[in-house]
């Protein structure tokens, strides 16, 4: 009987270790969208750290048959704490790969290669961690007081591992379900847009890589002090793929799914193969295991890409019971006829936390000889403009005139090749786009840019700046810290949604809306980012003219209240009705500027753009 007991204890430990590692990876990949193909090295860092912190000095112990650094002989729990720290520290250098706006798959390759590189180095440089042979005789915690081989010790170990795993679950859940987690998921769905709303991508990715690394490190420590040895063979890059398989099968973005995946894939496979009779050549069974993992990845991604337990949709509106209306084909057809709610009722001043109207029409945003060159082609050249506070400035010009590029440079989405940008008297040319957003320059995008796997309400709430739960440490402090404020924010967002007449979609995934509805979500989201200067890139495209005019009225009101708006738009009737002044761009240069009626008098404008 006791052999079963040992067996169960062993499984408990393995399951905890794998579940913990999967949750850490799920936080990185499923929640924050970082494809960390080198994840296994973080677990390994923890395992090695725990080993060398708990082992005695290499020269003095075991006749010095293995070489390693440190050897501090620390009592439990210090090796485990050290392991978590090691996993976290290892994340730092990788920030340079994932922090940049590198294609997701390229960054993943960088991480994969780093994992292989570290394995090669550790394997071949013996004095560091005993090279290829690995480290053995890692002491179990309290082994001088208890017998690690006893059944009760093994069960106790398993119990501690499970408690820690549960702790990790609550930790990752706490981060994921906080406003910070919302920002992480926004970054996962569309990082450039998240950046334009003031999310610091590098900071977000760093924090998650560190936290994920710490969790991986801890899991490594639990494993190594149980099995008492650790060698490069145990952490080949392919082990990361096993963890990815677990998450994809369990359900990326869902931590329960990650636990399920951990039980099914790494644990399940290991245990099933234990019972297979020896067949054919000795490599056959492990080889078939790898083949099955590869096959499962491909099959799941094809047939059930969301996994067994898909990510849960977050119901923020409070209507837990009512399933949201899935936008149907009928919605698509009637898109042009979207009814807008009663915008008049909205108290924007209150909702958007606008200050007292100061409308002195001073210059708030200006450029000096702004130029953008892609390779050798100059798209925007020498654009010098001044945007006045409280005005709704229009920007028109033929296709390819450089309007969107200019807007992108104002918002910081694209760096300028030369020239300067000034905002409230300060040179912001080199300020990053997320900092500009926080300073009050918020933009929208011409192409669909909703966060697809966030609900409409989440899309809106996540744009609100300075949320106390929208920092890493804020999220750790829990709902008691940020809950009340978040409820207020949700109420604000609901009111705006109501005003725009989209309340019934509050809990629907934004990716499922029709084109016109997504446009509105984007405008609402930008407003909730509390901009001082709002940069709109063709906001009315795909919006019914009646609705467009209603939105235009509201934009005018906002300007009267002190907001400054720059709007790129093709629809001249909108320009006519709402924009003053209008800047005409052609071939990357400013052609003219003035009211529409003034512009109509100008030959060169008419020639470049109008019917003439």
């Amino acid at each position: 009987m006791s052999s079963y007991g040992y067996y169960i204890a062993i499984i408990l430990v393995y399951a905890s270790v794998d579940a913990m590692a999967c949750m850490g990876l799920n936080l990185e990949f499923g929640v924050a969208g970082i494809s960390n193909f080198g994840y296994i090295i973080f677990q390994s860092a923890g395992a090695y750290a725990a080993a060398i912190l708990s082992m005695p000095n290499a020269a003095s112990s075991n006749g010095g048959f293995q070489k390693y650094v440190l050897g501090w002989h620390l009592p439990w729990p210090f090796p485990w704490i050290g392991a978590a720290i090691a996993g976290g520290l290892l994340a730092l250098p990788f920030v340079f790969i994932v922090g940049k706006r590198l294609r997701g798959d390229f960054a993943a390759v960088g991480l994969l290669v780093s994992a292989v590189l570290l394995n090669v180095l550790v394997k071949n440089y013996v004095p560091f961690l005993n090279g290829d042979a690995g480290i053995s005789l890692v002491p179990a915690p309290f082994q001088s007081h208890f017998n690690p081989q006893s059944l009760s010790y093994q069960f106790a170990y398993g119990a501690v591992a499970i408690i820690l795993t549960i702790g990790v679950y609550f930790l990752v859940q706490r981060v994921t379900e906080s406003p910070y987690g919302r920002s992480l998921r926004a970054m996962r769905d569309n990082d450039i847009v998240a950046d334009s709303l003031g999310k610091d991508l590098r900071k977000q990715r760093t924090s998650i890589l560190i936290l994920g690394g710490m969790i991986a490190g801890l899991s490594g420590a639990i494993l190594v002090e149980f099995i008492t040895l650790w060698a490069p063979g145990a952490w080949g890059y392919a082990e990361t793929i096993v963890l990815f398989a677990a998450i994809i099968i369990g359900g990326a973005g869902n931590h329960k799914g990650a636990i399920l995946g951990a039980i099914l894939v790494p644990v399940g496979f290991e245990e099933i193969t234990r019972y297979l009779p020896p067949l054919g050549n000795p490599e056959l069974v492990p080889a078939l295991e790898w083949v099955s993992i590869g096959l499962l990845i491909v099959l799941f991604l094809w047939f059930r890409p969301d996994g067994i337990l898909p990510e849960r949709r977050r119901i923020l509106s409070g209507n837990k019971n009512a399933p949201p209306p899935a936008p149907s084909a009928a919605d698509d057809e009637s898109d042009a006829l979207i009814k807008i709610g009663d915008l008049q009722k909205l108290n924007f001043r209150e909702l958007l936390r606008l200050g007292e109207p100061v409308n002195d029409h001073r210059v708030i945003l200006s450029t000096n000889a702004l130029t953008k060159t892609f390779n050798t082609v100059t798209v925007v050249s020498d654009v010098t403009i001044a945007i006045h506070q409280g005005k709704l400035t229009g920007m028109i010009g033929p296709n390819g005139a450089g309007k969107s590029t200019t807007l992108a440079m104002l918002a910081g989405t694209l760096p300028s090749t030369s020239g300067q940008i000034f905002y409230e008297g300060k040179d912001i040319t080199s300020m990053s786009s997320d900092k500009r957003a926080l300073a009050g320059i918020v933009r929208t995008f011409q192409l669909a840019s909703e966060f697809k796997k966030l609900t409409v309400l989440e899309n809106l709430v996540c744009a609100i700046p300075n949320q106390s739960g929208d920092t890493f440490f804020g999220s750790l402090r829990g709902k008691r810290y940020w809950g009340a404020e978040d409820r207020d924010n949700i109420e604000r967002a609901k009111e705006v949604l109501e005003g725009f007449g989209l309340s019934q979609y509050a809990d629907a995934y934004a990716g499922g809306l029709s084109g016109g509805q997504r446009r509105l979500v984007e405008i609402m989201r930008a407003l909730l980012a509390e901009p001082k200067v709002l940069l709109l890139d063709e906001p009315m495209a795909g919006v019914h003219p009646n609705l467009a005019h209603k939105i235009g009225d509201q934009l005018t009101k906002l300007c009267e209240g002190g907001m400054t708006i720059v709007m790129v738009e093709h629809e001249l009737s909108i320009m006519d009705a709402f924009c003053d002044p209008v800047i005409v761009l052609a071939e990357g240069r400013v052609l003219a500027q003035g009211t529409m009626s003034e512009l109509r008098q100008k030959e060169e404008v008419v020639e470049a753009y109008l019917v003439g």
Binding site: A329, D332, E333, D335, A336, N375, T376, P398, N399, G400, A401, Q446, G515, E538, M540, A541, G542, H544, P545, H570, E571, L572, S573, I574, D576, A577, E587, V606, E607, A608, Y609, L610, V611, G612
Partner: protein, 253 residues
């Protein structure tokens, strides 16, 4: 000009056409006809669906309803490589050349469907029409100026001696003087040689100058059509550009 640039034109017609993305129509109820020897232009405010309409004619965007014909051949939803074979030359508004290929290679790709021995002769013919390109045959297309690039884009299409030319805003982002030359000299020239020219143009005034018939698009439908001289006088025409009700716009493609 001595060389034959294009084959005898054929009639291009679209009847009851609806087209768009993901099953959603951007343009609908379109009836247009382009005849040989004529420049037929389509104008309308941005976002009115002009580009989508052209793309649906040449097999780039899916036709949801209606028929497209060249002569007697039905080409509704024919893959665009087949449309090229049938004799419809399409010049898109952007991404109209192969940037990493040289000018010569771009023209050769234009003549991909020709027999090897015909290509050289066709290149000479195209160069006679666009003599400026002669000096830059080995230059990469990505390094050309806007006007040169557009000439190359049209030259590429002319390699197959198309009977119908479909041009999407050829003058976009060109200096006014180059644009005028392109429209009045070259594009009008194609029609005068007898080919069928269907043109989407943003510079409505310039388009009217060289057109024989003009369709005005608004909100994905033809709101008006007529001879240029009549249209120029028509208040609805002006209205549809400068604002008012009819000219709504569809999502940009």
């Amino acid at each position: 000009m001595s060389v034959e640039l294009s084959k005898k034109g054929q009639v291009l017609t679209a009847t009851g056409l609806a087209a768009g993305y993901d099953g959603r129509a951007i343009v609908s109820d379109i009836d247009i006809e382009a005849t040989p020897g004529k420049v037929i232009s389509i104008v309308g405010p941005n976002g009115s669906g002009k580009s989508t309409l052209l793309k649906s004619l040449v097999g780039v965007v899916r036709v949801l309803d209606g028929t497209v014909k060249v002569g007697d051949t039905v080409i509704t939803n024919t893959p665009s490589e087949e449309v090229a074979k049938i004799g419809v030359g399409y010049v898109p508004q952007i991404d109209d050349v192969f940037p990493p290929l040289s000018v010569k290679e771009n023209l050769e790709i234009g003549g991909y469907l020709l027999a090897r021995h015909e290509i050289r002769g066709r290149i000479d013919a195209v160069l006679e029409f666009f003599p400026k390109l002669k000096a830059m045959m080995s230059r990469k297309a990505g390094k050309l100026s806007g006007g040169e690039r557009k000439m190359l884009a049209m030259g590429r299409v002319l390699m197959l001696s198309p009977s119908v030319l479909v041009l999407d805003e050829p003058t976009a982002n060109l200096a006014p003087i180059v644009a005028t030359q392109l429209l009045e000299e070259y594009i009008r020239g194609f029609a005068d040689f007898g080919s069928t020219v269907l043109l989407v143009e943003q510079r409505a005034k310039a388009a009217l100058r060289i057109s024989d018939w003009t369709y005005v698009l608004g909100g994905g439908r033809v709101v008006l059509d007529g001879a240029p001289d009549d249209l120029a006088q028509n208040p609805i025409f002006i209205e549809s550009f400068l604002g008012g009700g009819a000219a709504t716009h569809a999502p940009k493609d």
